[in-house]
Subunit: 213 residues, 2 copies
Amino acid sequence: MTSAATTATTAPEEPGRRLSSDERRAQIILAALTVFGSRGYEGATTDQVARAAGVSQPYVVRLFGTKEKLFLATLEFGLDRLLGVFREALAASDEGGERPAGKRIGEAYIDLIEVRGLHQTLAHAYLLGSNPAIGAAARQGFARVWRFFRDEMGLDADEARVFLAEGMLISTMIGLRIVDDYGSDTQITELFRACFPNKLPHVLEVLPRSEPL
Amino acid sequence: MTSAATTATTAPEEPGRRLSSDERRAQIILAALTVFGSRGYEGATTDQVARAAGVSQPYVVRLFGTKEKLFLATLEFGLDRLLGVFREALAASDEGGERPAGKRIGEAYIDLIEVRGLHQTLAHAYLLGSNPAIGAAARQGFARVWRFFRDEMGLDADEARVFLAEGMLISTMIGLRIVDDYGSDTQITELFRACFPNKLPHVLEVLPRSEPL
DNA sequence: GTCTATACTGAGATAGAC
DNA sequence: GTCTATCTCAGTATAGAC
């Protein structure tokens, strides 16, 4: 449990190699996403993040300054990634009217489960409105998403609200980990099904791989 | 800061009076709702709950056993209360077709901001799916709500999903505390407005009273 | 039923070596 | 760029008095 390779969440790396601090930062943020995602900001420890990233706890603090700054960096990464895939999906072709922008973006959102902990970390951040630093960042981030729907995607306020709402529900279902109670494809509840129209198989394949840590 | 009356979140009580342990439990759960709501399960401390309730920290632990059990009790209280007001709203009369059940229940959900921290505490619980005890309780609780929509209210799976989604968005907006960045009635954003159709004035009146602690 | 005092532990952060 | 050792404090839980 001391070697990087053993516990690393991220892609395999050549064992003996020394990474640039930017590479490490990126790697740690990926790990932080999974840890913050499952335990939340306060519940997560910098040590858990460090282990998941295969580095020592003090080094995580060294690179990011404080746990709070680490969380803020992780949140920003998550939001950038989210808006990144949304923009890609928006720009993608319509395939002859079969996949309108709304559908593409909805699916892109669900596909983000591949980036483990992203949905949950954002959702946790959104709940921390009372926290001075994190709350402010969360509101800003949420506003960015809202503006994407309104300005870039061109939805009206009502359509945007519905979109956002479905997104929040999906995040909730992921955070709840209904998979844990109902096993694999057979017993999954109607409740869970109803949340992932046409994406269920994919979700069922990916979610159980997201270790609770 | 030692007297009960000074810091109590809940209703004024006669200073010198000794409460039954059930009364205390109820009072502490109310306080716990606000504290867990703003800081989350891990972020909240039993001491903050104790202060908010006007009792000593060890006594909170004494009454509930552990912080986890306190959270579970608080979660259950919140869910009971939620389903309670939903059932009331469902049973209420239609007022000549002006307020169908869906609308009444939606409004009842928003009116629950009066029970400070309820929405946020539930939302926090829903995100803790990876936690053995809390995750299981949260899934159970979420399923109860789902069944209310399906069985008692008679919605089909799709309608129920839409309902739940709007609810998750509303909880998110409350947790985000957009009020904090945009002050009172004047500067409130479109984003916030869009989430509380016809309920904005009420929300704007209550939310700012919910102290961040 | 409720408090004060306190034991114990876990976790963030710092110092300093390599 | 990264580690080990360690300080320090906050927070849960226990003991025991009133």
